[in-house]
């Protein structure tokens, strides 16, 4: 019996080849085991249980047609083939779409049905698929997906590789890297599932499940790969459905379902691999020799019985002798000035991916349930278009911020109406406008006209609000610099003052005693204990909490007490913000209980992304009001401060294209007259971009592509947008409009490069 085994890579993220060989050797001591590899650097070729080697040229060199003929001959001559590589198995499926009796790998149809991330074949199994989206959606929607999942998301390639993307800039960089490595734009973003990882390995032949076994990871590498595990029988109910799935897929070969079990015991399927896993021999140690079972099922030749050695296994690092006929190749020279040797994918799997994409693009596409591929063009609200239409763009001097009057008016009215709807006889709900998000007088006036309070972090902001028309009793003052600049503190009674530290509280108390400050409500800002923040009085140790309790006791008893907490929901995610809200309610209740002070005003919010705040779903906000009423019955007013949600959509930045440079492979660099000085948030959020057609005046949204929009500054990082496509006919002089620039883009923009 001759068995070819591939996938012998044995680095930190190993392939299963060596484990398959070890297991086969136990089951068939006399079989001729031939290791198949595509690079003589792969260390598994030196494993001493291999009888022979079939070392091919790397995937980027090999003549695939000639090699296919060789494999066919080997199989026709009676050799069995167990693939230990996903991409090789895919290539074999394309060579033998209907399978081959001696090819112990899945047929093409089955491959398609286990494609990530939908893993269509999973239906019937007691598992769920973690939420995902394809990256061909517009950046605007990808950002929304990340926020919705608290930035606990993974960007995954269609075959291998996954990167945690905890922020927008990391996502953009990872997307560029994975796209380049795997030669595809179609990646996917998947929500992280917390829990313990476990797998089910299976062996099947022509649709019959021969055996399966369960493994829980008990130790993992830094990459999350199995280092130790325990082996047990698969739950009978799971096995029954797995048997049906294998039959439906007409599966042949090894396979692995990689899953996570969450704290509520729900299993989440991350992926299904068309091969045995790298821990395959760990199962053999546990008495489940699936490679031997597979060969027995395919040939009818009984395998030697596998003894149970232990129900748990672990890995160790072994040095083995190098074969005389395959001496170690030289170590590549590091690139000049670089650190270390780039040794990833020595057999050229990435090249195989590229070649397979060309020859059979359908086989290798990711399969998602979220509809046909999108073009990356974000939908732009009608009100934006109407506001842009009010400008004569041809005469607009660029770069210039465009004020969206209709949009802004609509946003403020909508927020005011919502606050009114959410209020009750017992609890008034009002909105606060954070002046710092955009101190444009037009926006401050809209806030005033719509019944907002003015939320200020400095006395300059207070005076700006007063100049626009706010009364002192419509001012809320907070932040660590509320006394800056000296001498500008209003003498009149303000609506609320929130102290940012114990020292700030002591200063405020003293000032009120002297008559230098007056406020209807005086309270504290509390620092979020589980999210890094520099603001507010901390709660992170029993001592600091005790100090906070003590400090509250020093607040004047003739003012109403309040609590303020802010955290950017766009940074911690929407679900994360709502958890923070619940957590803060519990802290507030504790503060009331321990100080005897009743909280009468609650000021909360900060940093809401506009779409999350202005969403039609009011139920969460309504529920929050109910929660406040239930947990803090003394609260009479809730100040909801949406932060940039009000300002961000209210302005856009118009710019002109100065020059278009075309490079190799359709890459384009377009230089614009704006820069990161006008778009300082470029790394934190996407912007919806429109181009005005020079001929028709029509506004065209930009989709995904190979164009980088380079700012006017002579600064290497001055790139205001990456991976966009300019509509056909775009030329120097055309106007681009970056929407969603009315928040911190506007307020933090700075003068730079203007002489």
């Amino acid at each position: 019996m001759k068995i070819y085994v591939s996938g012998l890579y044995s680095g930190g993220n190993p392939q299963p080849g060596v484990g398959i060989v070890r297991s086969l050797r136990q089951g068939y001591p006399d079989a001729t085991l031939i290791g198949v590899e595509y690079n003589n650097r792969v260390s598994g070729i030196h494993w001493n249980e291999l009888d022979d080697l079939w070392v091919q040229r790397p995937w980027d060199e090999i003549n695939l047609e000639a090699y296919a003929d060789k494999v066919r001959s080997a199989l026709d001559e009676g050799g069995l083939w167990i693939s230990g590589s996903d991409l090789e198995a895919m290539w074999l499926a394309s060579v033998f779409p209907g399978g081959h009796p001696n090819l112990l790998a899945p047929p093409a149809g089955a491959m398609k049905r286990i494609a990530k991330p939908a893993v269509e074949a999973h239906r019937g199994l007691p598992v769920k698929i973690p939420t995902y989206v394809s990256t061909d959606l517009p950046d605007w929607e990808l950002h929304a997906f990340c926020r919705a999942h608290n930035w606990r998301v993974w960007l995954k390639g269609p075959y291998y590789d996954a990167a945690r993307t905890p922020s927008w800039d990391v996502f953009v960089a990872a997307r560029a890297a994975l796209t380049k490595v795997w030669s595809t734009e179609r990646l996917f973003l998947q929500a992280h599932v917390s829990g313990y990882e476990e797998s089910v390995m299976l062996a099947a032949y022509q649709g019959e499940l021969l055996s399966c076994v369960s493994m829980r990871k008990r130790d993992v590498t830094a990459e999350g790969k199995t280092w130790a595990g325990d082996i047990s029988a698969v739950d009978p109910a799971f096995e029954a459905t797995l048997r049906q799935m294998v039959k439906a897929l007409n599966w042949t070969g090894g396979g692995e379902l990689e899953m996570v079990r969450d704290p509520s015991d729900q299993l989440w399927l991350l992926e299904m691999n068309p091969r045995f896993p790298a821990w395959v021999h760990g199962a053999t140690i546990g008495g489940h020799n699936l490679p031997a079972t597979l060969v027995e099922g395919a040939t009818g030749v009984p395998a030697r019985k596998t003894e149970v050695q232990a129900s748990e296994f672990t890995r160790v690092v072994l040095e083995v002798p190098v074969r005389d006929d395959y001496p170690l190749p030289p170590l590549p020279e590091p690139f000049a000035g670089a650190v270390g040797h780039s040794m990833k994918h020595p057999s050229g799997l990435t090249s195989l991916a590229k070649r397979l994409h060309k020859s059979n693009p359908e086989l290798l596409e990711i399969v998602a349930d979220d509809g046909p591929a999108a073009d990356g063009k974000a939908e732009v609200p009608e009100s934006f278009l109407a506001d842009i239409a009010s400008y004569d763009l041809a005469s607009v001097e660029t770069p210039q911020f465009l004020y969206f009057e209709t949009t802004a008016a609509g946003l403020f009215k909508r927020a005011a109406d919502r606050a009114h709807r959410l209020g009750t006889n017992e609890v008034e709900v009002v909105s606060g406008y954070s002046i710092k998000t955009n101190p444009d007088e037009r926006l401050i006036r809209l806030a005033l006209d719509n019944g907002f309070y003015g939320e200020c972090i400095s006395l300059l902001e207070v005076h700006k609000a007063l100049e626009v028309g706010f009364r002192p009793d419509q001012i809320i003052l907070n932040g660590p610099a509320k006394w800056w600049p000296e001498g500008m503190m209003p003498k009149e009674r303000m609506h609320a003052v929130f102290c940012d530290s114990v020292a700030d509280l002591e200063r405020c108390v003293a000032a009120m005693e002297r008559g230098d400050m007056s406020s209807k409500h005086v309270g504290i800002r509390i620092r979020t204990p589980n999210v890094v923040s520099r603001f507010g009085i901390p709660l992170d140790s029993p001592d600091t909490f005790a100090k906070l309790i003590d400090a509250v006791g020093r607040l004047p008893s003739d003012t109403a007490f309040g609590v303020h907490f802010h955290m950017a929901s766009s940074t911690i995610g929407v679900a994360g913000w709502w958890h923070l809200f619940e957590s803060m309610m519990k802290w507030c209740r504790s503060i009331e209980k321990l100080t005897g002070r009743t909280i009468q005003i609650l000021d909360m919010g900060g940093g809401w992304f506009p779409d999350d705040w202005h969403s039609d779903d009011e139920s969460k906000f309504a529920k929050a009001v109910e929660t406040v009423k239930a947990m803090l019955p003394g609260v009479r007013q809730i100040v909801s401060e949406p932060g940039k949600a009000m300002a961000q959509p209210s302005m856009a930045l118009a710019m002109r294209i100065l020059e278009i440079q075309e490079h190799e492979e359709d890459h384009v660099e377009a230089v614009v007259d704006a820069s990161i000085a006008e778009l300082p948030m470029y790394a934190f959020q996407p912007h919806r971009i429109l181009r005005q057609c020079g001929e028709t005046g029509a506004l065209q949204p930009l989709g995904r592509g190979k164009t980088h929009l380079m700012g006017r500054l002579c600064m290497e990082h001055d790139i205001v947008a990456s991976n966009v496509s300019l509509p056909e006919g775009t030329r120097a002089g055309d106007v681009l409009i970056f929407c969603d620039a009315g928040g911190y883009d506007r307020s933090m923009s700075y003068v730079f490069g203007r002489g």
Partner: protein, 219 residues
């Protein structure tokens, strides 16, 4: 538990030739689970409220049945003197398994879950227990929890189904594996301190086992 109470509750080895072979858990037969004392004043009220508030904050929106992993992060496992009050325990850098388990029990209960104190006897090695004996002696803390190659350990049983529990080891920051038996660090006996006729009198289910509350169950 109070030190005096704990030392007094340790059973001496003895017996006659006709008596059944002693079980490792016999030494701790009368041992009650640890509990933190309360001064009856604001200091302990603040400490308790802080633990409950911090536990919920640290959940980060995760499942309520997640283990309070932060306790092990905040408080290293090691000797702590007994009796210990809430206000003292929360200010320490190091606490023992009794304090860890008591805090975890409070955290689970404050989340609205049902949890019970649980006691374990685990097997290590004489070398290990000697090391621990030395460390505990340096701090002038009783070593009643050590006995040859066996140790007494406190954990928390969390109800996750009608009559099913998972066992959270707050000192390790992990769930105890119900499948494992024998060897270094393995479980020798377990007792869950709970009232009621769970599982129709068969006890609480933990993995494949049934654990009758209040009784030491040998593994």
């Amino acid at each position: 538990m109070y030190l005096v109470e704990a030392d007094g509750a340790v059973a001496e080895r003895g017996g006659t030739q006709t008596a059944p072979a002693p079980r490792p858990s016999d030494r701790w037969e009368s041992f009650p689970p640890s509990r933190l004392s309360h001064h009856g004043k604001a200091c302990c009220d603040i400490a308790r409220e802080w633990v409950v508030g911090m536990d919920f904050a640290q959940l980060n929106g995760g499942d309520l049945t997640s283990g309070p992993r932060w306790l092990r992060e905040k408080y290293k496992w090691g000797p702590s003197p007994w009796p210990i009050h809430w206000c003292e325990a929360v200010k320490r850098k190091t606490i023992d398994c009794g304090a860890h388990a008591a805090l975890a029990l409070e955290a689970f209960t404050a989340r609205g879950l049902t949890a019970f104190p649980a006691q374990l006897v685990q097997k290590y090695s004489e070398d290990s227990t000697e090391q621990w004996r030395g460390k505990w002696a340096e701090e002038d803390v009783s070593c009643h929890w050590l006995d040859g190659e066996h140790i007494y350990h406190e954990v928390t049983a969390l109800q996750v189904g009608e009559d099913e529990v998972k066992i959270w080891d707050a000192s390790a920051g992990s769930w105890i594996n119900p499948r494992q038996a024998g060897g270094y660090g393995s479980l020798v006996a377990i007792r869950i301190v709970a009232d009621g006729q769970w599982g129709g009198g068969d006890g609480l289910r933990w993995g494949e086992r049934r654990i009758k509350p209040g009784l030491w169950v040998q593994i």
